[in-house]
Amino acid sequence: MLAIRTEQLTKYYGKARGILDVDLEVRTGEIFGFLGPNGAGKSTTIRLLLDLIRPTSGHAEVLGLDAHRDRLAIDRRVAYLPGDLSLYGDLTGAQTLHYLGNLRGGVDTTYRDELVRRLELDPSSRIRSMSRGNRQKVGLVAAFQGRPELLVLDEPTSGLDPFVQLEFERLADEARREGRTSFISSHMLPEVEHLCDRVGIIREGRLLAVESIATLKERALRRLEIEFASPVPPDAFRDVPGVRDLRVDDARLSCTVMGSLDALVKAAAGFEVRGIRTQDTSLEEIFLAYYGAGPEAPHAAA
């Protein structure tokens, strides 16, 4: 069974494009990353899945149920963390978790307490006086506390400090081991790449590709600069597999490497290396390199 399936899902806000003909399939038990730059249509897709907005055309199924007709049955089994999370300012964290737990028909408070402890959330202060990161923690606990079959998390890692980010990844991983599914949107591949099994890439409202992270990593492009102790002959690097855009100026080499760095590093080892700088290319660049920008997709500067 698929956790999420959309068919030609399209949303226009009046005349403004939301998403166009999105066909998405998320498998049960996987962690699926939904990636795209701001304005690509991630939140639109997610809010359609949650029946908060209605499609212009097309169709969405969640856990095998119709997103609109069976919303209640879906919401009993799904947790959602909105992208721009707003909670009730006058409630404390604990009250918020209690209220939201009640709306779900009550939750296992032992697990809630464990989540609060693991994320180092102080549940006694009011939402209003919490930092953005702490509010996000409350949202995460609220999402995880009911042990939902499907977690739909819209940019869950924005505003989290690295420690919480790590704990969040553990939680998602635990959910996966229990056979539960996570659908996580992000505009930063590095934030989710070690977590996800597969990623879908959305741009300008269109789902451009779905790839496993393993495949994407093989194709990852890295910009590399190597500084040598003395000038090196360009020919020594010309035929190294995976190297593109090679430039050699005296003792400085720069290029783009696709996939493994191994061959290049070995070639460089024949000379005295002073320093290596690598720069991972953005998701968008990897994507554009492989799938090309669509006709209506102007090349956004990375």
Binding site: Y13, S43, R47, L50, D51, L52, I53, R54, R71, L72, A73, D75, R76, V78, A79, Y80, P82, D84, L85, S86, L87, Y88, G89, D90, L91, Q95, H98, Y99, L100, N102, L103, R104, G105, G139, A142
Partner: protein, 267 residues
């Protein structure tokens, strides 16, 4: 304890506005009945009112009451205008905020991702609003009764209660207008603006109908007509007119369920 359901949460959200408004009406009701004897003797109210031109009397509702009792005094001072305006204003503020408040604060996304139907969210919020309006109206009643007791003024507390029921129904009508507009559009300001405008227009249409002949034929379109026509504080509650007021509120409420169900919610 108050965070069990959308209903109890809304009761909790409304507890302070409700308390303060009820207190204000308690003080207002007490003020008028407590001071009634002073007014009655010092200002010779009956004679004073007799000298007013008809249009003026119509505007303040003096044609429907006599001021020889505290009940009649309230009927002039509070019931034609101030009380319905305060109650309706209160109901408009709450009705417009019911779901549009959650939308503008951005909490609607979280709320409606839980297994609660949209119609039930509106219904539970509306129920909490009805409760608040009842509490606020009761505040006036208690104030008036205590004030009358303290000043030994003749007050028919049963009649005051009956009139308050009709005033509360009128207020809920305006609250439902605000609810329909705000939940149907997500725009709280629109809900408030249009309902307040209707409140003012409807008040004047009914109040001036006896003196401006053109208005007489349209006065039934004014909700104030159904509230005041039977002069409830003097003759008791009019079941027929109350049903009209209640039917309007229920119809508008049902319409807002439909309107809210269909909408794209604001992000």
């Amino acid at each position: 304890m108050l965070l069990r359901s959308v209903f109890t949460k809304t009761v909790r959200d409304l507890r302070w506005p409700t308390f303060w408004t009820a207190l204000a009406l308690f003080v207002g009701g007490g003020y008028f009945t407590l001071l009634y004897p002073t007014y009655a003797t010092q200002f010779k109210l009956t004679e004073l009112l007799d000298q007013l031109p008809a249009a003026m009397k119509a505007l303040i509702g003096a044609q429907v009451a006599d001021v020889s009792t505290a009940t009649g005094f309230l009927n002039i001072e509070l019931f034609p205008m101030i009380l319905p305006a305060v109650l309706a204003g209160f109901a408009i503020a709450l009705g417009s905020g019911a779901t549009a408040g959650e939308e503008s604060r951005g909490t609607i996304d979280v709320l409606l991702s839980y297994p609660v139907p949209r119609w039930l969210v509106v219904t539970q919020k509306a129920a909490a609003i009805v409760l608040s309006v009842v509490v606020v109206a009761a505040g006036l009643w208690v104030g008036a009764v205590l004030g009358a007791a303290a000043s030994n003024s003749p007050l028919d507390s049963g009649r005051v209660a009956e009139a308050l029921v009709m005033a509360a129904l009128l207020a809920l009508d305006f609250g439902s207008i605000a609810l329909l507009l705000a939940s149907g559009t997500g725009n709280r300001g629109l809900g408030i603006g249009v309902s307040v405008a209707l409140l003012v227009v409807m008040y004047f249409v009914n109040a001036l109908a006896p003196v401006i002949s053109g208005l007489d034929s349209v006065k039934q379109a004014s909700l104030f007509f159904w509230y005041l026509e039977s002069n409830p504080i003097r003759h008791g509650i009019s079941i027929g007119d109350s049903l009209v007021l209640a039917a309007v509120a229920i119809a508008l409420f049902l319409a807002s369920l439909v309107a809210f169900e269909r909408r794209d919610l604001a992000a």
